[in-house]
């Protein structure tokens, strides 16, 4: 048991509170002086990375107690560390990439609020703080998508806010029902509480926010319609705001854990199937996010590493989507990309597909170690699908002709940005520190890649398969609630 510390008595707690407050104060400043905005974001990233660096090595955890017994308690631990590192790296990369781009679409004020909200949701441990931060993150993300003011983004952002607010209202009902039984909103209130409607309401809200399975069906279109830098943030780190609460819930109770695990696996399969079938490059990336978030929630032990590996790679992919010659994958084969985006596409997608020695491989190995045998084989099938999904991006060729000067962009900030994202993918495997011997894993990785490429070949002439269309507004709302009803039926009848 960790002794909680309070900001009035302990300097470490004071620093941590200052770090959590900083993005919000900086957001006010950035609203007044827009020219300071990007620098303030980098400063906030630096602080966040420092905190992540403090809690990632070893198993150090600090519990911060604000305002005593009935106040908020925050837990800065190893699980939060992974996500804080992702938060810092991705925001810094997005800001650097857009440093002197005149049409940079993201407003620094909103980015600061988004980053601050995410940091708090990673370290919060009570139901109401999660509600508040997730709604804050949702509103900031909505504004980032809607402010560029194109007709398509108006509709997808409205859908996003409507669906996520509805889901969070259901979440509040769950939180209220738990308070009635336990007189507390703390995470520990769920200990030993029999699985029932209150937990299902919480799960509906969190699954929707995390973009998992049918509750996350809003995700593919929202992420693919947003401008590149905003898609990168949404897909890389914003969805993980809902993932951390899910992982923390999974650690409290066995039935809850098994419910989250089944839904995660279903999401992994659904995402891969639709990503294999879509004809649009950005939608392929977004469907793959839905699938990867399913894998992330499979186990609290490996969730952090999986999310970090996926978030960095997906952020890099979405940022380079700006340079994609076309979004139509049918014409992709006859197209060419310049060296930097081509290298980014290859490195990032190979990491998600799990090629050693990239970070995605180490994370997958850790996931493998955390799962029972039958689950590992299901994950392997999903990996085959993932390879086949990304094989579609690998058909693009290298552009040999130099670009006309009008299109050439300042190289240094872009190299810095992609370096921030890709370097950890290369060396992150050390941080994740996989266990066990390497030889059997290398063999199975080889098999997965072979099978994946074969699947890619086989599917090529069959596309598009007649899959049902799942993304109408009514289906998004109905999907989340049907999922809840299904969970209630499956997990309260003694089935698990």
């Amino acid at each position: 048991m960790i002794e909680p510390i309070s900001p009035f008595s302990d300097p470490l707690a004071l620093w941590l509170s200052a770090w959590l407050l900083f993005p919000f104060l900086a957001a006010f400043l950035a609203a007044l002086r827009a020219d300071l905005g990007k620098g303030l974001i980098l400063l906030s990233c630096l602080g966040t990375a420092a905190v992540a660096g403090g809690c990632l090595p070893g198993d150090r955890a600090t519990e911060l107690s604000l305002l005593g017994e009935l106040g908020v308690s925050l837990l800065v631990d190893r699980l939060a560390g992974w996500f804080l590192l992702l938060n810092a790296l991705l925001f810094a990369a997005v800001v650097l990439e857009g440093w002197d781009r005149p049409q940079f679409q993201a407003r620094p004020m909103l980015l600061l609020v988004l980053q601050g909200g995410l940091s708090v949701s990673f370290v919060a441990t009570d139901l109401i703080s999660w509600y508040v931060t997730l709604e804050l993150v949702g509103v900031a993300a909505f504004l980032l998508v809607v402010l560029p003011q194109r007709d398509a983004t108006l509709w997808v952002s409205l859908r996003y806010l409507l669906v996520s607010n509805t889901a969070m209202n259901l979440y509040l009902i769950g939180a209220g029902l738990i308070y009635v039984q336990q007189e507390s909103f703390r995470l520990s209130a769920l200990d030993g509480l029999p699985f029932g409607a209150p937990q299902v309401f919480l799960l509906i809200g969190l699954f929707t926010k995390a973009g998992v399975f049918v509750a996350g069906l809003w995700l593919p279109r929202t992420h693919s319609e947003a401008p590149a830098e905003i898609s990168a943030l949404l897909s890389g780190v914003v969805v993980t705001g809902g993932v951390v609460p899910l992982l923390r819930l999974a650690a409290t109770d066995a039935v809850l854990f098994s419910a989250i695990r089944w839904v995660g696996m279903a999401s992994a399969v659904l995402g891969v199937v639709y990503a294999l079938n879509t004809g649009d490059a950005k939608r392929l990336l977004a469907w793959s996010t839905l699938s990867q978030m399913g894998l992330v929630v499979l186990s609290p032990l490996s969730g952090g590493a999986m999310a970090l590996g996926h978030g960095l790679a997906k952020g890099a992919l979405f940022l380079s989507a700006r340079q994609f010659p076309t979004r139509d994958l049918k014409e992709w084969r006859s197209q060419a990309l310049t060296a930097v985006p081509l290298a980014v596409v290859w490195l990032a997608s190979l990491s998600i597909a799990g090629l050693p020695p990239l970070a995605g491989f180490a994370a997958k190995k850790q996931l493998d170690g955390a799962l029972p045998g039958s689950w590992s084989s299901m994950v392997m099938l999903v990996s085959v699908g993932t390879v086949a999904v990304y094989a579609r991006l690998w058909t693009v060729e290298l552009e040999r002709k130099p670009l006309p000067p009008r299109q050439a962009e300042p190289l240094l900030p872009r190299l810095l940005a992609f370096g921030l994202l890709l370097l950890p993918l290369g060396v992150g495997a050390e941080l994740i520190a996989p266990t066990g011997s390497l030889a059997p894993t290398l063999l199975s990785t080889g098999l997965v890649f072979g099978a994946g490429l074969l699947l890619h070949r086989l599917l090529q002439p069959l596309r598009p398969l007649p899959l049902p269309m799942l993304e109408r507004l009514d289906q998004l709302l109905g999907g989340a609630v049907m999922l809840g009803a299904g969970l209630l039926a499956a997990f309260t009848g003694g089935f698990a």
Partner: protein, 117 residues
């Protein structure tokens, strides 16, 4: 206690009505209003949960005069949700007015079809 159970049932039914409105109405404006019905019934539910221990405002009075106070925690918590709900409602209505320029009938299916790939 039975009156509390009855009120709880009514509030949950109001939440259900709001959700059904969200699901079944085709007009976007009505959908947004239905979401507000859902949100308001959640607020009502929290107020009801606070009233389980008593109805008096939780303000310290003369020492020695214990009274059945309402639980201040759910009440305090739901204040935040009211503010968030209101601001989201406002943002959604702004977007709805923008969308009304594209299709004045605000039919959700037509927007879904416009943006399909």
């Amino acid at each position: 206690m039975t009156s509390i159970r009855l009120l709880e049932l009514l509030l949950l039914m109001a939440a259900l009505a709001g959700f059904l409105g969200l699901l079944l109405r085709r007009n976007l404006f009505l959908k947004v209003l239905a979401m507000d019905v859902l949100g308001s019934s959640v607020v009502g539910l929290f107020v009801l949960f606070s009233a389980r221990s008593g109805l008096r405002s939780p303000i310290l009075q003369l020492p020695g005069r214990a009274a059945a106070f309402a639980d201040p925690v759910p009440q305090g918590v739901i204040l935040t949700a009211i503010v968030i709900g209101l601001s989201i409602q406002a943002l959604l209505l702004v977007v709805v007015t923008q969308l009304a320029q594209m299709d004045p009938s605000l039919d959700t299916d037509s927007f879904d079809q416009r943006t399909t790939e």
